[in-house]
Symmetry: C2
Subunit: 647 residues, 2 copies
Amino acid sequence: MFEKKLKPVAPDHMKIQDRFWKEYMELIRNHVIPYQWEALNDRIENAEPSYCIQNFRVAAGLEKGTFQGMVFQDSDVYKWLEAVAYSLMWHPDEELEKTADETIELIGKAQQPDGYLDTYYIINGLEKRFTNLMDHHELYCLGHMTEAAVAYYKATGKRRFLDIAIGYADCVYDHLGMEDGKIPGYPGHEVAEMALCALHDITKDEKHLKLAKYFIDQRGQQPLFFDQECEKNGNKCFWDDTYMQKQYYQAGKPVRDQDKAEGHAVRAVYLYSGMAEVAARTEDQELFAACEKLWENIVNRQMYVTGAIGATEHGEAFTFDYDLPNDTVYGETCAAIGLIFFARRMFEITKDGKYADVMERALYNGVISGMSLDGKSFFYVNPLEVVPEACEKDYHKRHVKPVRQKWFGCACCPPNIARLLSSLAGYAFEENEHELYVNLYTGGVLNTRKNGRENQITFETDYPWNGQVKITIENQENTEFTLALRIPGWCSSCSLKINGEEVEAVPEKGYVLLNKVWKNEDNILLEMDMPVRLVEANPKVREDIGKAVVMRGPLVYCLEEADNGPQLQQIYLKEEPKFCTEFQPELLKGVVTIKAEGKRVSSHGWEGEGLYRTYTGKQFEDAELKFIPYYAWTNRTPGEMAVWVRV
Amino acid sequence: MFEKKLKPVAPDHMKIQDRFWKEYMELIRNHVIPYQWEALNDRIENAEPSYCIQNFRVAAGLEKGTFQGMVFQDSDVYKWLEAVAYSLMWHPDEELEKTADETIELIGKAQQPDGYLDTYYIINGLEKRFTNLMDHHELYCLGHMTEAAVAYYKATGKRRFLDIAIGYADCVYDHLGMEDGKIPGYPGHEVAEMALCALHDITKDEKHLKLAKYFIDQRGQQPLFFDQECEKNGNKCFWDDTYMQKQYYQAGKPVRDQDKAEGHAVRAVYLYSGMAEVAARTEDQELFAACEKLWENIVNRQMYVTGAIGATEHGEAFTFDYDLPNDTVYGETCAAIGLIFFARRMFEITKDGKYADVMERALYNGVISGMSLDGKSFFYVNPLEVVPEACEKDYHKRHVKPVRQKWFGCACCPPNIARLLSSLAGYAFEENEHELYVNLYTGGVLNTRKNGRENQITFETDYPWNGQVKITIENQENTEFTLALRIPGWCSSCSLKINGEEVEAVPEKGYVLLNKVWKNEDNILLEMDMPVRLVEANPKVREDIGKAVVMRGPLVYCLEEADNGPQLQQIYLKEEPKFCTEFQPELLKGVVTIKAEGKRVSSHGWEGEGLYRTYTGKQFEDAELKFIPYYAWTNRTPGEMAVWVRV
Ligand SMILES: [Zn+2]
Ligand SMILES: [Zn+2]
C-alpha cells in the first residue's frame, strides 16, 4: 500500500557516542543553543539586536514598543525551541526546560483570543493580517511554530505549546480555504504543509491534514492567488520581472504539474517535503508522482556533488538543468537541510536507499560545511570554489564568503543546523514494529522495541573515517525482526559477518535485509571498503568538464590554499594518481587527509608581464597535492578552495 | 623631446577601398547615420523615443515641454554629428551637411548667453547647474560636443559649431577651477579632457588646455570633491557601498597615483586618453608615467584576448588583475573603442608598435563584434562564451545577450562605432612632415604631403584574410620620407620587397622603417605569413587555464553552435591539430573559416539520468571543428559560442 512504512527513531532512544557526531551534537547543545538564546534576547554585544523575544513581549502587552526585525522574526524562537526539544530528549536539562517553558508562556500570552499568533500583525494592526500571504510569512511562522510544538510535546509530554499551535492552526483554518467567505490563499514560504501533517499525527484532527492538503492542492491554481492578492491589496511581486515570476514561490502552476525544481530552493524542498507528507497520508499517487519527478530533477540535474542545491544567489534559487557553477553557487545550508527533509519523507514511503544516499551526501558535505568546527560561525552560502579576492572585488560573488560569519540577529541557517543535528538519530535510524533501517552509520546505543520486545543495539564505528561497523544486539528475549543495513551508493565492495560467519551481502534497493530471530549477544560486522575514489560529472555540466572530485566514503574532499598554495586552477591530478590517506588527529579536530600525485601548470616564461602568448603545449611541474574533507574547509588561514580538480 | 610625434591622417586624405573596411564604412554611412537621425527625432516605430532633438527644441524655446530621456541625452546628437563630420570628409553629401547645419543651428539656439549648454538644466532650472558633476554629465556633454565641433570644423571649415563649443568651454572655465569663487569640480564621466586638448589644437587658446589640465590634476585630490559635492548638495553616491567607491569614477585618488585600471571601464580609458593628451602637451613626464603604468596594467592584467575590457557588469567596470571571466564579462563595445583612443595617443607619443598591436586587436575583434553584419543591431556586451539558456535563466548573466539588439532610444555604443569607423583612416595611418606610419593594413589610396611634395600611395591588400600588402607610390617629384610599415606582434615571419628586390625586414619597436627617396611607381610588396596559431593565457587567468584560442592574423576565432553543435564545453582541440583554412565568400559576407582536428568528451554511459559517477578516465570521440572569426558570431541561428577551447 501507498503510505509511510517507517518512522524516525526518537532522539531519546539513541545515545549517539561516536566522536564525529557526538562532537557536533555537543557543540549544538553547549554552544549554539545558549548563544541563540542570548541573541533572541538581544544580549550579544556589537550585534544587531534580534528583537524576537521583545516583539513577543510587546505583542503580549508586557512592554510598549513597535515591531522590529524581519517579518518572519517570530520563527527564530520557534526554531530555537525545536532544537531545545530535541536536545532535551537526549540530554535532559531542567534549567533549559524551565527557560523553554517560560518562553512558551510568553508566546501564549501574545496569542489572540481567536488563536492568531504573528507578532508583526498583532503589533501593527490585526485588520491587516492575511493581506500579504505572498511575502509576509504568517503561515511560515505557523509552520515553524507547529514543528517546534510537536517536538516539544514529544520531548516533554507538555501540551501548552501544542495547544498554542493548534489554536493558531485552527484560526488559519477558519480564515483560509475555498469555502465562501474564506481567503483562497496559501503560504508564500512553505513549511506549514509538512508541519500540519506532523500535527495531525498527534491530534488526529482531520482539519489539520485538510489544511495541509488544501495548501498543496490550491497552490498555483489559476487564477493565481498571489496575483489576485496583489491586485486586491496593492502588494507588488518583486519576482514578476524575473524569469521565475511566481515560480519563485513554486506557485506559478499546480504542484502536480511541476516537474522541475524551480525558484527559491529552501521553499521548494520544504514544499516537496509537504507534498510527500500529504501524498502518503491521502494515498495520492499523482501527488507522489510529482514528488518523484521533482526529486529526479534535483538529484539528476540540479544538485551539487556536496548535496548543495540552489545554483544562484538571485532569489536563492534553482536555475536550470546542468547549470552548476561552483564559484557563484548559492547552496544555502538550509536548502541542503531541506533536501534531507524531502529525502527522508521519500525514503519513508519507498524504503529506497537512493534517498538515504542523498541524505548522507548532503549531511556530511553541504550541511555541516555550514558550521565552523568550533560551532561559532556559519555559512549561508556553501561554495565549491573560492578565490577570496573575487568575493571582495567581484560584485556577483559578494554573497560568497571566504570565511564563515559570526551568527547575529536574523539568521535562518544556524538554527536549522541546530534542529537537524539535535535530531540526528531520527535520520540515522528509521523503524516500524518489525524493521529497523540503519541509514547512517553512527556509533552509540539504540533502544528499540520490536515485536513487543525490548532490544538494545550497540553500534561501534569510526565512520566516516573508515567503513567498519560492529553491531551487537542485547535482549532479554529472542526477537524476530529485520535489521536493514544500508550499503551506500558509494560502496562497491563490502563484507558482512554475523556472529563471525560470512554472510552474502546483496543489497536490495540499497539495504541488506537481515531478517532473523535475534538472540542476546548476536553481533554483526559490516566492513565497507573505503578507498579514495574519483568522481566525474555528467559532461553536460559545463563547470565540471575535464575535472573530477576526490571522495572517500561519504565525504567530498577539497584542495585548500593552506595546503597547496594559491592559484588552485593550475593544479591537475595525474592520470591514475596514487592516493595516500592518513588520519591526522590534531588537524581540524581529527580528519583523514588524502595526498595525491598531481601536477601544476608551469609558469615558466611568464615571469615577466603579459597575458597572452603563442601556445607552447602542455607544460607541468610535479606537485604533491593534499586534500581535506570539504566540510572542514576554511577552519585555518583563509584562502582559495576548490572541490573540482582538473584531470 | 616628449610630445606627440605623429598625427592621424584625415579621413578625406585616404580613400578606403578594400572589401573589409569599405563595407563597414558604407554601412555606417548608408544605414547607421540615417537610422540614428531618425532615432534622435523619435521617428522609429515601436521604439522608445530618444527625445534628444526635442529637448534641444524645448531648451531653445521653440516648443513647450519637459526634459525627457537620460541626463546625458544631449551627447547622442553630438556623437551623431561627429560621425557625420568624418563621413562628409570621405563622402561629401550636401543634403546630409544641410541637415547637420540645421541641427547645429538648433543647438546654438539652445545655448545660453553665457555659453552654457546642457538642455537638462536649461529646461529644469539653471540655478541647479553644476550641482551634481559626479553623476549629471554636464561635462560629459561638453566633451562630446567639443569632439564633434572640432571634427565638423575640420570636415567643413564652418566655425558655427566650433564657436558654440568654445562658448560652452569658456563658460565651464569661468565656473570651475581652484580659484576663489569657482567650484573645484571635475567630470564624473570623463571625455572633456581629451576633447579640450583637441579644441586647443585649433584655438591655441591656453584656457582650453588649462581647463583640461585642471580636470586631470584636481581629480582625486583630497578632500575628494565628489564627497564635498554630495554633502553640500545632498547627492548620494551609489558606489560608496561597493568595493570601488569613488574609484568607480577614477576619482578616489590623484590620477598620478593610480596604477591599476579601476572602475567604470569606458570612463577609465577616456580619462587615460585625456591624461596622455595633457602629458604630451605639457611635457609632464610624471603624468605620462602614470599613463604607462595604467596601460601596462590593462594589457598585461585586465584585457581579454579580443581587446575587450571591463570584466564585470556591476559598474560596467574593471575588477582585478587576471580576473577575466568569459561568460559574465561586460566588455562594452565603447570600452574597446576607448582603449583604441588611449592606444592611439600613447602611440603618437612613443611610435611604439605595441600600442598599434592593441588597436588592431580591439578593432578587429572586440569593437566590430559590437555590430551585426547588416549594421542593424548592436551589442553593448561582448562575451567570449555564451550559453543562451544561461542568459535567460541566470540573473547574473542577464546583461549578456545571445543576439545583438536593435538600436533604440538611449544608446552609447552604436554611435561610438559610427564615429570610430568613419574616421578609420586616422587610426590606420599617422604621419608628420617626414614620416608615414602604416598601423593598420587597409586597401585604398592615400594622398599625403611629405617634405612639401604630394605623394599618392596605393595600398592593395586582402587583409585580414591574407597578409600580402602591395604598396605603390606615385609622385610628380621624387620625395624623401620614411614609410614605416608595422609588423604586427602576431607576425613571426614576413618578407619585404622594394621594386622586386628583397629587403631585410627587421622591425624596430614594431615597424620596419623604410627611409629613402621615393620615386614615381616605386612599389613595395610586404608578405606577412598568416598561419593559424594557438594562443594561451597567463596561467594566473583562472578562466582560461587548460584552454587556447585559435587566431589567424589579427583575428580571434570562435566556435559556434551553428557549426559545431551544442555543449561546446565538451570540445577539445587535439594535440598539435592540423588546421585547414578556406575563404568562404558566401558565408558571413565572406570570411576565412578554419577547420581543426578536435575531439568531444564522450557521453557514453550517460544516456540515462544522473549527475555523478566514478571517474572512467579520459574518453573522447573525434570531432571536426569549425571556427569562424569572433567578430562575425551570432549572425546566423543563435546558439552557444566559445572563444577559449580546451586543449
Ligand atoms: Zn538559511
Ligand atoms: Zn557603450
